[in-house]
Amino acid sequence: MGERSASADRRRAVAAVACAALAIAACTATSPPPLPPRRVDFPAQAPPPGGVAPVLPRPADLPAAAEAPDRDERYTGWTLAADAVSIVPLVEWTAHPKQVYLAAPALLLVPTIHAAYGELRSAGISLAMRAGMVGLTYLGYRWAHHQCNSPSGSQEQSCLPIGPIFLIDIAVVIPVVIDSSFLARRRRPATEWDRLPTLSAAISRDGRGLLTLSARF
């Protein structure tokens, strides 16, 4: 019996590894080739005989001040780590539903991470999802309790409540996936942009810069 279960475990492990390998191999999107280093030498442009050198069209300057480019960042690792930590007390809570504090990490930890990264909207969505998760987990517990203690099921030695387990599984996985894949990201201006020297806002067509004074408040 033990040998059979060990070989089944091994088969499942091999299947899991094969699935992970397939998932990695399925990443078919490629990055474009890297950009070359900044060009510093430009050929001296002699005006064509009897004419004016062609000038490429330049977009008009707008009155709005230029802004640093936005950069997206993920903090998926932190939310997944928080979920890994909080799932243990949540499972424990299903066995002791009166100890409400055991559900608190699953409810609050990830929204707190979103809030710490300044993503209050994500924190709100995550909190709502996790409230649903805790509620469904409790419902799953009640369902399992009812299933295993009902007159039809109570006589059996071991009770495996498939339906409630599936419900709890779905209730836990959906917020974890949405949090880690969609919500655990933020967009911030690139900070190193402020350290670049500012070019003159008005540069003459012949390439000569005009002296300007600029200040930052």
């Binding site: 998932a23 399925a26 990443c27 078919t28 999107a29 490629t30 990055s31 474009p32 080739p33 950009l35 070359p36 280093p37 900044r38 060009r39 430009f42 050929p43 442009q45 000038v55 490429l56 069209p57 330049r58 977009p59 008009a60 300057d61 707008l62 009155p63 709005a64 001040a65 230029a66 802004e67 480019p69 936005d70 950069r71 997206d72 894949s181 967009r187 690139a190 190193e192 942009w193 670049l196 020297p197 500012t198 070019l199 806002a201 540069i203 390439g207 810069g209 300007t212 600029s214």
Partner: protein
Amino acid sequence: MRALALAAIVGCTACAPEVWLAPDLRQANARVAHQTASAEVLLTWADLDQPYDVLADLEVVMRQRGGFGREPTRGKVEAVLREQAGRLGAHAVILISFGQPGSSWWSYNELRAHGRAIRFR
């Protein structure tokens, strides 16, 4: 439950692709004071011989949301490059190149591109 699933499917057909921005300023040598009209920003895959300053290397990754969201296209990626370049005050985005569209860890339909935002001297 069926209504919820249907709403999710219908809702996602209207989902615009997710845009991921990853600018690189290591090659940049200057910034400017004012934005430019992004619709007029020149886009080209080639380098230009006219002297210029580099404002940023812009990278855009566009991903389809879910199974029914709108697909990322070159036109949409170019629109994002133009918008980002305009906010920087660029005159053009040069050396634009695209990766092969395909699946990734984050989406089954992803398109990556980058280009160099420049300002003519």
